[in-house]
């Protein structure tokens, strides 16, 4: 989707946005179909749930022939990469049962020998895997943290101070007449977000879709989203707080010289419902606090509503991780079972964590090109056990690598949409699976060894 930025087009009205425009000059752009009927398949499955990102699109169709997916409908680029990764020829091979047993034993040995263990990345797993990873972390006396730990902590610190106004995505689609993406770019991480929930989707009070909405965005650099926006602020994260203060100040109009500032102020004034999507990992702690304070002030007025919705860039099931963590630990961002941790969320950032932990059990967050997270720098060099359903990882330093089945493609799994609603993403019927163990089977094995 990387298109050359055309500056005069950046300020275009939203009505001019068309698929043809977006795809102009793009290699492999779609051409009108020749009208032929596609019937070269064995199994057709409709209304499948995609677990490629937290949009959890539930209108996906798979066509399978000879155990292979030969056609899909409504899969976005992120989801397609996930599917491709599961079907790729260079995927990690299934471990024979004896080798799997030895790997599990070796993994458990590493974790027991280098405690406490950091269990990282459960936010990329389906619910059953997440529950298992929690139990394992507890049994190990380790830490249980998500990929988005720093952002989550930043967000919940703000929530504790300012409260939080949230919404299910149905309400955003129905009511939001102003949508802001604050350092959260759905065209990078949640491709169908704009069409299903936030910009183009038609709702109860937004019957004309994007014509009934104002879109604004704040980003660090060039992005395709810019051409969809009525207001676009390209600025460094350190400038966020200034913009927030200018927008929320008593006399905001002269407070910022940005060309779109006055336009945004006017749009805010005439909006009844503002939905602000933010990636807390990409804003500073002060800006996060500022956004939540801003929302609290708007909502205290009672005239209009402002919802702040985190668009986590980490694991696909980050909302599920938050839910599970709250249910089990009264904290939204993980747990610390290590000595002295008492279950509470650890303080500090990855560097502080790295000082404390002796080993890492890592669940990969996504395939190459789609939400794959690298191990935070300070943790490199720690003894590493890697559990992954994806293609050959680039992490050569892993002492043990255990390939698993991919939930939502090769096995059923419950995932949580960005607004916390759970949905079951089923295995694709008819797909030839090579007998990979499920992640919960691997975790059970590790748990058995740890407790032995």
């Amino acid at each position: 989707m990387a298109l050359p930025l055309v500056r005069e087009q950046a300020a275009m009205s939203i009505q001019k946005f068309t698929r043809a425009f977006l795809e102009q000059g793009e290699p492999g752009a779609r051409k009108p179909g020749d009208g032929a009927v596609f019937d070269d398949y064995d199994v057709q499955s409709d209304s499948m749930v995609c677990a490629g990102c937290s949009c959890l699109c539930d209108d996906v169709s798979y066509y399978v022939k000879g155990g292979r997916v030969v056609r899909t409908l409504n899969l976005c680029e992120v989801a397609m990469k996930r599917l491709d990764s599961a079907l790729a020829g260079d995927r990690l091979p299934v471990l024979p049962s004896e080798e799997l047993r030895r790997s599990v034993e070796a993994g458990a040995r590493i974790m027991k020998g280098h405690s406490p263990t950091l269990v990282i990345g459960a936010d990329g797993l389906h619910e059953a895997g997440m529950v298992g990873s929690w139990e394992l972390a507890r049994a190990l006396g380790g830490l249980w943290l998500p990929w988005s730990f720093v952002g989550m902590k930043r967000f919940f610190d703000g929530v504790r101070r300012w409260g939080w106004a949230g919404a299910i995505l149905d309400e955003v689609r129905d009511r939001a007449d102003l949508v802001m993406f604050w350092r959260a770019d759905p065209l990078e991480t949640h491709h169908r977000h704009l069409s299903r929930y936030s910009l183009f989707a038609r709702g109860r009070y937004t019957e004309r879709g994007n014509s009934d909405r104002n879109l604004a965005a704040v980003a660090a650099g060039d992005t395709v989203m810019e051409r969809l926006c009525q207001q676009f602020f390209r600025m460094a994260p350190s400038e966020d707080l200034g913009l927030i203060q200018a927008l929320t100040g008593p006399n905001p109009a002269p407070a910022s010289a940005h060309r779109d500032f006055v336009s945004l102020v006017k749009a805010l004034e005439r909006s009844l419902y503002i939905a602000l999507f933010v990636d807390p990992e990409k804003v500073t702690a002060d800006a996060m606090q500022g956004i939540l304070e801003w929302a609290a002030a708007v909502n205290a007025g009672g005239h209009r509503r402002m919802a702040v919705l985190p668009l986590w860039g980490g694991g696909v099931n980050a909302s599920g991780f938050v839910q599970l963590s709250l249910e089990r630990n009264a904290s939204g961002c993980g747990a610390d079972f290590s000595e002295g941790g008492m279950g509470a969320v650890p303080e500090g950032d990855w560097e502080d964590i790295a000082i404390r932990v002796g080993s890492v059990l890592m669940f990969e967050s996504g395939p190459d090109g789609a939400q794959r997270r690298r191990l935070p720098g300070p943790l490199l060099g720690k003894p590493l056990v890697l559990v992954t359903p994806f293609k050959r990882p680039s992490l050569d330093q892993a002492q043990v690598v255990i390939p698993t089945a991919l939930a939502g493609i090769e096995q059923d799994g419950v995932f949580f949409r960005a607004d916390g609603l759970p949905l079951t993403a089923h295995a694709v019927p008819g797909l030839a699976c090579d007998g990979y163990p499920t992640v919960e089977e691997v975790i059970s094995g590790l748990l058995r060894e740890v407790l032995a």
């Binding site: 939080w164 009844l272 509503r305 839910q323 709250l326 916390g420 949905l423």
Partner: protein, 481 residues
């Protein structure tokens, strides 16, 4: 699953309004998870020694699992599901009803409710007049009834819940679609579909000021908390005399969780738009020591003082904190003992004292009847073997009475001995999410707003879909099957 044993509860003082048992000493027989006719050779004999024996308690209204509610755990205002389930079992309860979900949030609620152990659960489903208002405006009762049936059928709800008996659009373009409370209440009163009865109505400001042509079609939730409390006893007694049912919230000054709806949100609170038209707000509650102009639960006490024999009223917790912190048992203790209650509560009650027979009616019989749980809330033959035994004696000191009602001496749920001699046995009873069996022709409604508006496809919202199979599997795993 625990092995169901043939149990004899010997020599209990049994209170059951359904049978007219007012504490007479008798034996109770439980077999196959049900109350049974007398049998010989019981496998377990519980010598109750004259202790009070009641059916398992039913809480008809407790906000347990709204989206976003779990965040209140961060503020210490909400316990975990395990602790909530344990508190209910400790107080002798076997069923709790979550007041409402929406078509979209039902699956989320089912998942979260399944995590609460020891007690069965059910929930209502909210009627959203943004979707169903067209039928009200057009006075199309059959369409409205069909859509309400579809809602119950799809979500697996136990009943209907009307959070706002009006439709007020904030967007100027839509104000011609607004509907007044008078119109809504008249329309619902005229519904001929008796299977939809009762519609639970949230007693919000101004609701009781409207004429309600057919009160018996409604169940009034949080009746005593209605802000039109000037004429509350008179207005409420009129409705209750006319056959309406209601639940009253147990008093609890220390409830850590405050729940409300509204456009204006206090800073520091959690507010979530779950599809009601107004946000659901959670705030840290609890009495902070400021002088109070009136005691907590004033409306509840006043209504209980005036309660007539025919009134169908239930006592509910409203939020989990009132169970975990003992507000519900304490309210019962204050009702049965003048010595246990504070002076101001005694004045509000007019010195009225009720017996355990009345407590059984408020906390067992009426809640079960209101929820349509015909096999619960009583101890008749064939009822589910849910029995709570309390070590309550006449003239008990106040503190001991509250303790005795907060921690039952024995609890049997579905024939499984959960508590014995005041301690948990370690046995885990099976738990289910109850739902109302109702016919609905969902296919004929495919084009209506109600089914068109959700962001998810119908098959992913449907209780009978794959989600149900998973929940069932989880329950069996929980039971150890």
């Amino acid at each position: 699953m625990s092995q169901l044993k043939r149990i004899l509860i010997k020599d209990g003082s049994v209170f059951d309004p359904a049978q007219g048992w007012r504490g007479e000493r008798r034996d109770l027989y439980l077999s196959g998870g049900r109350v049974s006719e007398p049998f010989r050779d019981p496998e377990v004999v519980i010598e109750s020694g004259g202790r009070a024996v009641l059916a398992g308690g039913v809480d008809p209204h407790c906000h347990l699992v709204h989206p976003g509610q779990a965040l209140m755990r961060m503020f210490g205002a909400l316990c975990g599901p395990e602790e909530i389930g344990k508190a209910y079992a400790s107080a002798g309860y076997v069923h709790v009803h979550h007041p409402f979900v929406t078509l979209v949030t039902a699956a989320s609620a089912r998942r979260s409710l399944a995590l609460v152990p020891y007690v069965d659960k059910s929930y209502g489903v909210a009627l959203d007049l943004r979707d169903m208002g067209k039928a009200v405006r057009g006075n199309d009762r059959s369409q409205f009834a069909a859509e309400a049936r579809a809602l119950l059928h799809l979500t697996g709800a136990q009943g209907l819940f009307l959070p706002f008996p009006w439709l007020r659009h904030r967007q100027r373009h839509y104000i011609q679609k607004n509907i007044s409370p008078k119109k809504v209440l008249e329309f619902l009163s005229a519904l001929e579909d008796e299977e939809l009865k009762p519609v639970a109505l949230w007693c919000r400001p101004g609701v009781l000021d409207n004429e309600i042509p057919r009160p018996d079609f409604f169940h009034f939730t949080a009746l005593a908390d209605s802000p039109s409390s000037d004429g509350l006893p008179g207005r409420a007694s009129g409705l209750l005399e006319a056959g309406a049912s209601a639940d009253l919230v147990a008093a609890c000054e220390d409830d850590p969780l405050e729940l409300s709806t509204g456009q204006t949100v206090s800073p520091g609170s959690i507010s979530i738009d779950i599809g009601l038209g107004e946000a659901l707000c959670f705030a840290v509650g609890g009495w902070r020591g400021e002088p109070r102009s009136s005691p907590a639960g004033e409306g509840t006490w006043r209504l209980l003082a005036a309660a007539g024999e025919s009134w169908r009223i239930s006592l509910c917790s409203s939020t989990p904190g009132r169970v975990v912190m003992g507000g519900l048992p304490r309210t019962c203790a204050w009702l049965v003992s003048r010595e246990a209650r504070p002076q101001e509560v005694d004045e509000l009650l007019g010195g009225r004292v009720v017996d355990l027979y009345e407590i059984a009616r408020l906390t067992r019989f009426e809640p079960a009847r209101r929820l349509g749980l015909s096999d619960m809330g009583h101890l008749g033959v064939g009822a589910r073997a849910n029995v709570a035994i309390y070590d309550v004696r006449p003239g008990m000191p106040a503190g001991e009475l509250v303790t005795a009602l907060s921690h039952c001496w024995c609890l049997i749920k579905d024939g499984v001995l959960v508590r014995e001699k005041g301690e948990f046995t370690g046995e885990t009873p099976s738990v289910t999410i109850r739902f109302r069996e109702i016919e609905a022709d969902v296919a004929s409604l495919a084009g209506c707003d109600l089914l068109q508006n959700p962001t998810l496809r119908l098959e992913h919202l449907w209780r009978n879909g794959r989600w149900e199979a998973r929940a069932e599997r989880r329950r069996h795993e929980h039971d150890g099957v």
